[in-house]
Amino acid sequence: MPITGGAPEVERTTLVPPMSERFRASARDFPYWLLAIAGILGWMVFLIVTDEKYRTAFDRILPGLGTTISATVVGFGLALFFGLLAGLGRISKNVFVRNIAITYIEFIRGVPILVLIFTVAFVVVPQLSGALGFSNSSVTPFTRAVSALAIIYGAYLAEVFRAGIESVPKGQTEAGRALGMTSGQTMRRIVLPQAIRNMTPAIGNDLIAMLKDSSLLSVLGVRELTQQGRLYASSSFQFRPTYLVLTFFYLSMTLILSLLLRWYRSRLGLAND
């Protein structure tokens, strides 16, 4: 192209992108993945509604839904509490407190979740029952299972809290302290509110992960979704409908949470993907 003709040419294209270019840009950003997953879920719903075998599997698994949700909600609530304590301990100036927190976090992160669930259920709870004087057999599998999830995710969330607190600029703390607020008041009223806002996407990811990991509670015989599915499949030999319906339950729940999270992130002005 001749050099003299170049400039106006460039100007025209940058000022008003041609129709085809704009169409291509929106075509690039279209969430095809969502369409695909919605299609898969739609196909599953179709099977459940029209096919007797799938409907039966759905009806047999459904009673586990409440247990899955309550295990996730209770477990996550406790995990947030443990995570906050361990996260604050992790950044404490006190050598003893800091090392206790790091020991907990590193221990949990060094052992597979499945093994930890067995360990909490069959080692930690019996040991505690001996030490604190309650009967080991009085602790239900559900309680053991939820404690395990809370202890495990507490360690994961501790790192989220630590990163969240450290993401708040030091000047915010200094301004609080300079106004005569104590370090506790500064943490509660100034640092944590901002940290939690920064942490929300990461907390949401861990909530989704915990919802999925609650399926591991089936190894303790807790009658959540996966256990209901396993019981039904082994008695009816309907493996295909059972596991497809089980997938449907988890995928629809995680998709809802994931969309909520995306909506929240975009409201905060954070980029998705």
Partner: protein, 257 residues
């Protein structure tokens, strides 16, 4: 510096600093290397000097954001120690304005100014808000009370930060390069507020690069270099005829551009 002492300061000054040394990095860096300074009540002291000369560190030792390695700091007759209850008590009486404003991003302007009043001064909500609106009026932005700090210009944010400190009725105000992060057209609005405070009799220690402000508002100019005070005295005299060669070199750099 560990035991709590509440003895009278040796003079009618708001701030007395004796033999202040502050080292960082396990003694390898001597940011402040033996500083004596007195700030008489009602006076404005301007601390100037090249960057890295230790002037901000001296300022931060006055309200205990840095704990001195050696030497003593008295504020309003109270010896500053590393004990946190002492630090909190001193900080209640000392306002501080930072280079980067450090407004609380999750709160509105009004909440920024009321928070410490309510928590530290234990003022009821209505009283804290009344004081806050008075102070916002004083710094010239009463209409921004319900804004978020992020929606304000740098100059406006810094004026809110000044109002936030003033609402605590401090006996002393510290300014740490309050205009260094501002666009040129906003520097004046902040300096005007500070000048008004100075005229009103507030005791102030100001770390600044604004030599015009130092000349106009300060009773005392302190020139620092390499952690030490090079020269101090009446601003106009030092600006017009600096006694020390290092002072002259510093002025050459900041005044002749």
């Amino acid at each position: 510096m560990t035991d709590y002492q509440l003895k009278a300061a040796p003079g009618p000054e708001t701030v007395i600093i004796e033999g202040l040394v502050k080292t960082f990095d396990h003694g390898r860096v001597r940011a402040v290397d033996g500083v004596d300074l007195r700030v008489p009540t009602g006076h404005v002291v301007a601390l100037v000097g090249p960057s890295g000369s230790g002037k901000s560190t001296v300022l931060r030792c006055i309200n205990g954001l840095e704990i001195p390695s050696e030497g003593s700091v008295w504020v309003d007759g109270r010896l500053l120690t590393a004990k946190s209850s002492d630090l909190d008590a001193v900080r209640e009486e000392v306002g501080m304005v930072f280079q980067n404003f450090n407004l609380f991003q999750h709160l509105t302007v009004l909440e920024n100014v009321t928070l410490a009043q309510r928590i530290v001064r234990k003022r009821p909500k209505a009283e804290a808000e009344r004081v806050a609106r008075e102070q916002l009026e004083r710094v010239g932005i009463p209409e921004k009370a319900d804004s978020s700090p992020g929606d304000l210009s740098g100059g406006q944010q810094q004026r809110v930060a000044i109002a936030r400190s003033l609402a605590m009725n401090p006996k002393l105000m510290l300014f740490d390069e309050p205009t260094s992060a501002l666009d040129p057209e906003m520097i004046k609005e902040v300096l005007d507020v500070m000048l008004e405070l100075a005229v009103g009799g507030m005791t102030m220690v100001v770390v600044t690069h604004e030599m015009g402000f130092a000349r106009a508002a300060a009773n005392q100019l302190v020139v620092m270099d390499h952690g030490r005070i090079v020269e101090q005295g009446i601003p106009a005299e030092i600006f017009d005829s600096p006694r020390e060669e290092r002072t002259r070199q510093f002025f050459d750099k900041v005044l002749h551009h």
